[in-house]
Amino acid sequence: MKNHQTTRRDFLKTTGLTTAAIGFPTIIASSVLGRGATPPPSERIVMGGIGLGNMGGGDLGNFLNNPGVQYVAVCDVRKNVCNGAKGTVDGKYNNKDCTAYGDFRELLARPDIDAVHVATPDHWHAIMVIEACRNGKDVYCQKPETRTMREGPLMVEAARRYGRVVSGGSQRVFEDYRQVVNKCWSGELGPIKSINVEVGPLSQPCNLPPEDVPADMDWEMWLGPAAWAPYNSKRCDGNFGTGGNSWRSYLDYSGGGMTDWGAHHFGGATFAVDVRELQPTEISLEEDGGKKFLTLKYPNGVLLTHNKPGKGNLEVEGTPGEKRAPKPIPGYSVKGGIYADFLNCVKTRGRPFRDIELAVNTVAVSHLSTIAYTLGRSLKWDAAKQQFTGDEEANRYLDRARREPWQL
């Protein structure tokens, strides 16, 4: 597998988003605006939604509530869900203008759409985000943003190559861990030695029996790049469980709790201890009292432990007796949470708080941890090469073949 992604990214870092970047929001005619619209047409961001169930419905609702947004298209492989979302959009604007699609490529091909939200199961994220960038769309992508390690750098490359604003989707990273973040960034804990995170479990193989495919569902499209398998309602249910009754339980579609909650907790932890721009270099599998846990070491010496016995979630160890100068805490570009931050960056062409590169680094922690647990051994990670050092077997877990005809 090629290992040049990060070097490419170094170039793209210097050439990507600028204030003069492309793709300012489309100006839409006032005749298509719904009643009660306050912003002038030139300030409205024309959006489409891909994946409307569960979190996708939540994303749609949050964006729709922003008067600076005009949804014109929705896409889902389940017609009933898709039509329901169309109804929501049309109801909001009191018209019938929202178009429902079953194939995201048709939605992305529309030149009038500025930005999309992607809230499908995780195995689709990379393909859709990259294709959206290739079509000049800005993207808000639900977490966990990647399903494999290889996907992350390719998503970042696509965003930088085309000057797109791409935001990851964990609102908790900024909003849920403020006490820990404030303590760390204020300097009162001194130099940070370590932080512990509790998430789990890993996703599992799925071999559920066949059931009849619902009449409104395009099952082949739901599977997409994942291995073919017969329809089963538990295989594809979008609920938040990881115990076997949802796609979040199964490794073809999700990393389980390790990535689903990892996107939040690892995101918060790496933000708190200020390593969110880095990836770990060592992943050590250790054992204490019969319980396995991981210690991930960052290039600056900070340790991130996973499920370390005796430690709580986001429990930080600083340096007692030492203080450090406070640092200004990064945050959203505007008030209104992660959705408003994304929309503001679409207008300003700035980097959102959960810029895709930072989100990728967060999910990388989950993926690297999963590979170490799966192989049952410690690993060394070369972030520049995006390869494990001296472990060709581990490198085979960095990606997996996509079912034809899907390709990154």
Binding site: K2, A227, L375, G376, E393, R400, A401, Q407
Partner: protein, 231 residues
């Protein structure tokens, strides 16, 4: 214990509890560092693919071969590349297999498969960064099926070498392949720039700018030129 799991594979169809195969998953882990035991396990697994076990069993075997497969299992996996139902899972095991034989098998399969299966094989060659795949992929840039030509372009972009870049430069894009070829050329240019071959990178960006690009590609290429000039 492995014997029971291999027996379970004979009737491993959709709906069977996957834990019956756990001993094989465990064996993948425990044989790490024991080449002889690994090879024995690999040969046993590959042999299953030649039998008439259910599709779910062959699917599971390909997953088990993914981390441990060597040249020893390539011929068996290669034989599945033209199988409509199993081609993907054969690539699942072959795609990141370091053995050069895996790349050779994928290249050999190219003229034997069509449609979606060919796109899958093309994609795997790209992911492998298969240098020897540049020539056959270049030929596919002119394929009558635009989906195959686009796949070949993206694969060349993934390979990203000067040879891949030259192949893209020499190809004639159609309206259906123009965006994919431009994207792949941008990827190659980025790789050239990242590996300190600025003149070649700049030439690629300028070639794109001279070809009536879309606004999106034009701006990407213009940024690339600036980067090449250190601006």
């Amino acid at each position: 214990m492995n014997e029971a799991a291999f027996d379970a594979l004979k009737t491993y169809d959709w709906g069977v509890e996957p834990n019956v195969l756990q001993p094989l998953t465990d064996a993948v882990v425990t044989t790490h560092g024991n080449a002889a035991a690994r090879l024995e396990l690999e040969i046993q697994l590959a042999a299953v693919l030649k039998t008439d076990v259910p599709r779910a069993a062959k699917d599971a075997v390909c997953r088990l071969l993914k981390p441990i497969g060597t040249a020893a299992s390539v011929p068996t996996l290669a034989a599945l590349l033209a199988d409509e139902k199993l081609s993907h899972m054969a690539r699942y095991a072959l795609e990141l297999m370091p053995a050069p034989e895996a790349g050779e098998a994928l290249r050999a399969a190219l003229p034997k498969v069509g449609g979606k299966l060919k796109i899958g094989v093309i994609s795997s060659l790209g992911v492998r960064g298969d240098a020897a795949g540049v020539a056959p992929l270049q030929a596919l840039l002119a394929d009558g099926d635009p989906a195959i030509a686009r796949a070949a372009a993206y694969a060349l972009g993934a390979i990203g070498s000067p040879e891949a870049n030259a192949a893209l430069a020499a190809a004639k894009a159609s309206p259906a392949t123009r965006a994919a070829m431009a994207d792949a050329s941008l990827a190659c240019a980025e790789e050239l720039l990242a590996t300190d071959r600025k003149p070649a990178a700049k030439a690629t960006y300028q070639r794109l700018l001279g070809g009536k690009p879309s606004k999106l590609v034009e701006q990407a290429a213009a940024r690339g030129v600036k980067a090449c000039e250190g601006r």
